[in-house]
Every structure is written in structure tokens, then in C-alpha cells.
């Protein structure tokens, strides 16, 4: 919906001095009152408009300040290949973040591989294969509750359950499973929204041709919902990339070598910034490393954020969906 109309209807009252003077008796009094009320309303409108515009401007300035400062301080470091792909140093200057960058990408991919099928499956169940009932209500309640839980709680749960109880140790897999639980609600929500947005006539056409429900879902509903699902998944990947609190006690915060197996410990960039903050004094140039790493992380996250929208557009075009 467009903003409200910009023109404000003025009451049909002669508010000029002469008009007010000429009105006698009750009529004049009423007109005077109405004119005053209208003036007050216009004034209030101006103040309100100023306040709302200012808050929007402040929000925008805050965003610009965040991105601007982080990039201004760290982008120079981050774009240096010897930093971006270099070996980290624990006690010396000149360390890079190669293994951290790799850990972040690895973890994001690993988590997506688990959470996307699970989340899409769950959403398909809710949108296509279930009826409103006790079970569906339970699932929705569980999902909503899960989405409200703090990431540090996911982190310590991941630690006691995946790392200790299931004996995965500090590892990419333990982190990926923790993040799966954490991001499942988001993937479920975006998928369910996209699936529900597919017109019912599509399904009816397919079903009336004798296709089963699963065939209809697979061949008609899912392809039509794909652009929306892709956007949501890529946005989620950006969130996984930036997560730190859930990973400190499940994956690890510092490694020297690139982790190859999912059962090895790793150090995603976001968690590594935490490491530098808490034990940074050991690295002489910790400020440079952390600034560079923050800039690299922000660029990656922004990339995922912007790619999300663009990707959906590409898929739409390829499949010839007009909207």
C-alpha cells in the first residue's frame, strides 16, 4: 500500500480574519472553534510527520554508520590475500584468517545441507499434508518456542548433548546440528509462507489430472514456491555465517589448520572474533586482525543478504514465472 495521501483536506470554513469577524452568533462561534481545531490538527500533523521522518532517518543513519565504520576500519586488511587466506598467529604479528574463513563457509554449507531438507519437509507437512489438529498445534508451539530461545542456550545445549553426550567432541558437526535446531524455525516459516502463496488452482489442476498429493507437491507446488524458499534459505545462510554464541562451546574459537573432516574442531570467523576479544592481548596486532576479520565477515553476510533477493529473481526468470 502506498503511503497515505499527501493532501490534507481543509475544512470548508472561511478562516480568514474577515470571515471570522463576519460570522455572528452561534454560527460564528462554531466556525471559530472549527478553524482553531483545524489549525491545531495541521500543527499536530506537522509535528508527527517530523517525528516519524526523523526516526526513519536515524535508523538509516545507524545502519550506514555500522557498515561504514566496520568497512573503513577493516576492509583494507580484509582485502589483502595474505590476511584473508593466511595462517593465523597466536603470539606473533601478521596472522591471517584462512582457516577461520574456511571454517565459516564449511559450517554454513554443512548446516544448510542438514537444515534445508528438514525444514522444507516439515513445512510441506504443515502446509500440504496435515490438518489443523492437536499434532499440528504441538508442532507449531514447538517451533515458535524454539525460535524464541537465546543462541547461548542453544550453545550450551549443543555442548552437553552433541559434544559430550553423543561424544562428537568440539566439531563442525556438533556446531552444524546445534545451528540446525536454531535455524529450523526460520526455514520452516519461509518455506511454509512460499508454499501457501502458491495458488490453489495449481494443485487442483494437478490433482484433477490424477496426480497424487506427493506428485503434485513435488512437481507443481515446490517448483512454484522455489524462488521464495531460495530467498529464505540464502538469508538463513547469512545468519548462520554470523552466529557466534552458539558455536563457542560446540565448534571452537581458534584453529591453526584448515579443518577437513566434519568431526574436527574449527573456528568460524564470528567465534574467532570472540576469541580475539577475550584473549586478544596475546596477539600483538589483535586490533588489526579483529577489524579485518569483522570487515570480511560483514562483507560475506551482506553478500548473502543481497544475493538472496537477486537469486530469487534469476530463478523466477528461468522458470518463466511472471510475478
Amino acid at each position: 500500500m502506498r503511503g497515505y495521501s499527501r493532501t490534507i483536506a481543509k475544512p470548508e470554513i472561511n478562516t480568514s480574519e474577515a470571515g471570522l469577524k463576519n460570522g455572528n452568533g452561534w454560527r460564528g462561534l462554531l466556525e471559530k472553534k472549527a478553524a482553531r481545531a483545524a489549525a491545531r490538527a495541521r500543527w499536530a500533523e506537522r509535528v508527527a510527520s517530523f517525528i516519524f521522518r526523523t526516526s526513519a532517518a536515524v535508523s538509516l543513519v545507524v545502519l550506514a554508520f555500522i557498515i561504514g565504520t566496520i568497512l573503513a576500519r577493516g576492509l583494507g586488511t580484509a582485502l589483502d590475500p595474505s590476511f584473508l587466506f593466511g595462517k593465523p598467529q597466536a603470539l606473533k604479528e601478521g596472522g591471517g584468517i584462512g582457516p577461520m574463513l574456511f571454517s565459516s563457509l564449511y559450517l554454513t554449507l554443512l548446516t544448510s545441507v542438514i537444515v534445508v531438507p528438514l525444514g522444507v519437509g516439515a513445512a510441506l507437512y504443515l502446509a500440504e499434508f496435515s490438518r489443523e489438529g492437536r499434532l499440528v498445534r504441538l508442532i507449531r508451539w514447538g517451533t515458535e518456542s524454539l525460535s524464541s530461545i537465546s543462541s547461548v542456550i542453544f550453545g550450551i545445549f549443543g555442548m552437553v548433548f552433541f559434544v559430550i553426550y553423543l561424544r562428537f567432541g568440539y566439531s563442525l558437526l556438533a556446531g552444524a546440528l546445534t545451528l540446525t535446531l536454531m535455524n529450523l524455525p526460520t526455514v520452516m516459516r519461509v518455506t511454509e509462507e512460499s508454499v501457501r502463496a502458491v495458488p490453489g488452482s495449481y494443485r487442483e489442476a494437478s490433482l484433477s489430472l490424477g496426480a497424487s498429493r506427493w506428485e503434485t507437491t513435488k512437481k507443481v507446488v515446490l517448483p512454484a514456491a522455489l524462488p521464495g524458499i531460495t530467498t529464505g534459505v540464502v538469508l538463513t545462510m547469512g545468519r548462520i555465517m554470523g552466529e557466534s554464541a552458539a558455536l563457542v562451546y560446540t565448534v571452537g574459537i581458534f584453529v591453526r589448520k584448515i579443518p577437513l573432516s566434519p568431526l574436527q574442531p574449527a573456528a568460524p570467523m564470528a567465534a574467532n572474533i570472540w576469541h580475539i576479544y577475550t584473549e586478544g592481548a596475546l596477539i600483538p596486532d589483535w586490533m588489526r586482525v579483529a577489524s579485518g576479520e569483522a570487515a570480511a565477515l560483514l562483507v560475506l553476510v551482506l553478500f548473502f543478504n543481497l544475493a538472496a533477493g537477486a537469486l530469487a529473481g534469476i530463478i523466477r526468470k528461468k522458470m518463466g514465472i511472471m510475478n
Binding site: R2, S59, F157
Partner: protein, 315 residues
């Protein structure tokens, strides 16, 4: 929902009569698929139950050996067997209240601007900006707070520059997109005709908002603020980097203190026994708090238009 309407609520049209060349396994296949999808959907419930069970199990020694009276007291010194979490509870409350005081007006102002004042191009641009802001990792906001906000506070107010004030500001930025987008969505969900009727009677935009749109969207706006509060309660990294930390009640807005999340984060790695267990007890209390907030939001959403409110929960 009325019980006799239930049948019509099922998703999509009824299953068709089998036609064409019969696949003998078709029926079984459908059943298998349905069960697999159902299991996927149950993972979230299973995960939630596992979390509650394991957190409870780990926090059991604290409840048993220290006792609830000890845990809900104000002295925290694990060496002497004192596990009072009141300091952290107060810290969490102070920081999230502060973030709401700073962030909520800004967010609601932005939401109203987007709904009623912005031109379509600005609407899209700022809406996109809010999405980007929501995606900025908390560790980056914490780092930025640590390197810019803390020195600034130190310069103007003295002390270490760390404490509730900088933490509230950082958190305000974090909850801004959450509150703004959900509040905007609930404003947009108010039928257009309401606002049009008011405007056509000669009301100004502000009069329309104040008397018509905002009252109609009120439960959704409240839900947005509560969800923002929930996010503030649970935020860890950004707060940990600017709040101190120190295990003491905050004397004013710029003395170092602790919140539940930062205490858990900073001590989980190096604690054992009842000390560690009491950290899990904190986590359990935090979990209960956020589930209570979600319950509150649910109650509120029940008042708005049915079916449109579901999305608000996850943001």
C-alpha cells in the same frame, strides 16, 4: 475455532480418486512420504524437549545442593557456595528495559513512517535496510560497540565506559529491525478501507493513525515490542563486549555488571560442579522467560486476524 468447521479447514482439496495406469505401490508411497514429512516436522518438538530435559538434568545439582533460596539470592561467590543470580537477573532486566526505552520509539516511528508517510521507493529502500540491519551479526555490533561506543562513553562520562548504557544502546540497534518490521506488518494488515474512510472525512494522517490505524494494529504492535524484548533478553555477544563484565550490582548506568547470558558465556568454559550446574539453572530460567514471552505474544495474536499473525513469531 468452532468444532463443526474443522473439516473445512484441512489444507487443499480432498485426495482424488486414483486414475490412469495404476501403480500398485502408489498408496504406500504416499503414506511413507507423509510419515517422513511428519517426522521432519516433529524434529523441532523433539529438539525443544531435548533442550529442556538436558538443561534441567545439568542444572539438577544446583537445585538440589544449593537450593532455590540460594539461587534466588543476591550473593554470587561459588568459592563459598553462594550461587545467587539476582545480580545477573537485574542486569538482564536493566539492559533489556534500557534497550526498549531507546530502541522501541525509534523502531515504532520508523514503522509508522514506512506505513503512512514513505513514498514507495523509500519504503522499499528502508525496508531493505532494516533487513540488512537484522542480518548484521551480533559479534560485529559488539565489536563496534567495544571500539567506538565504549571510548565515547568513557570520554564523556568517565569510568571504564562499560555498563548498562552502552549495552542498552547496542541492544537497541539489534532490536530495532525486529520491532520495526513486525510493527510495520501489523499496521499494513489493517484493512486499507479503515484509513481511507478516516482520511476521506478530512482527518489528517496523524489523526487517522492515532484514532484508527494504530488502535486497530495495537495487539500486533505490542507483540512486536515483546518480541524485541525477547531478543534483547537472549542476546549474548554484543552485550558481553560492552557491559564490563563484573559480578556486582550496577551502581549507575556506566558501571560494569553482568547479565544472565554474559555470565553463562564467560564462565561455562572454566567452571565445574555446582558452579557449572548453576549456570545451567540460569539458562533454564532464561528459557522459561522467553517461553513466557512467546506465550504472551500468542495470546496477543489470538486477538488479531486469525492466520495472519503466525509469521510474527519467528523474526
Amino acid at each position: 475455532m468452532k468444532p463443526h468447521l474443522k473439516r473445512e479447514e484441512k489444507a487443499g482439496p480432498p485426495a482424488p480418486v486414483a486414475a490412469g495406469p495404476a501403480d500398485p505401490l502408489r498408496g504406500q508411497k504416499e503414506t511413507v512420504v507423509r510419515w517422513v514429512l511428519r517426522l521432519c516436522a516433529l524434529v523441532s518438538v523433539l529438539g525443544l524437549f531435548l533442550m529442556v530435559i538436558f538443561l534441567f538434568r545439568e542444572s539438577l545439582p544446583a537445585w538440589r545442593e544449593a537450593g532455590a533460596a540460594n539461587i534466588f539470592s543476591s550473593e554470587w561467590s561459588p568459592d563459598k557456595g553462594k550461587y545467587g543470580i539476582l545480580i545477573f537477573l537485574v542486569g538482564t532486566m536493566a539492559v533489556s528495559t534500557g534497550s526498549l526505552i531507546i530502541g522501541a520509539p525509534l523502531a515504532l516511528g520508523t514503522a509508522v513512517y514506512l506505513h503512512a508517510y514513505a513514498k514507495p521507493s523509500w519504503k522499499r529502500f528502508i525496508g531493505r535496510g532494516l533487513e540488512v540491519l537484522a542480518g548484521v551479526p551480533s559479534i560485529i555490533l559488539g565489536w563496534l560497540g567495544f571500539t567506538t561506543l565504549v571510548p565515547l562513553v568513557r570520554r564523556f562520562a568517565g569510568g571504564t565506559g562499560m555498563g548498562i548504557l552502552p549495552a542498552s544502546i547496542v541492544l537497541a540497534v539489534m532490536i530495532l529491525p525486529t520491532i520495526a518490521t513486525i510493527a510495520r506488518d501489523s499496521l499494513e494488515a489493517v484493512p486499507k478501507a479503515f484509513a481511507e474512510a478516516s482520511l476521506s472525512m478530512g482527518a489528517t494522517r496523524w489523526q487517522t493513525l492515532r484514532r484508527v490505524t494504530i488502535p486497530a494494529a495495537w495487539p500486533g504492535i505490542l507483540a512486536a515490542v515483546i518480541l524485541g524484548l525477547g531478543r534483547a533478553l537472549g542476546e549474548t555477544m554484543a552485550v558481553a563486549m560492552v557491559i564490563g563484565p563484573a559480578t556486582a550490582f550496577p551502581k549507575n548506568l556506566i558501571t560494569p555488571t553482568h547479565t544472565l547470558t554474559t555470565k553463562i558465556m564467560l564462565e561455562m568454559g572454566e567452571s565445574t560442579g555446582v558452579h557449572r550446574s548453576s549456570l545451567f539453572a540460569m539458562a533454564l530460567i532464561l528459557l522459561a522467560l522467553s517461553m513466557f514471552l512467546i506465550w504472551l505474544v500468542r495470546r496477543l495474536s489470538a486477538k488479531t486476524i486469525k492466520g495472519t499473525s503466525g509469521g510474527a513469531f519467528y523474526c
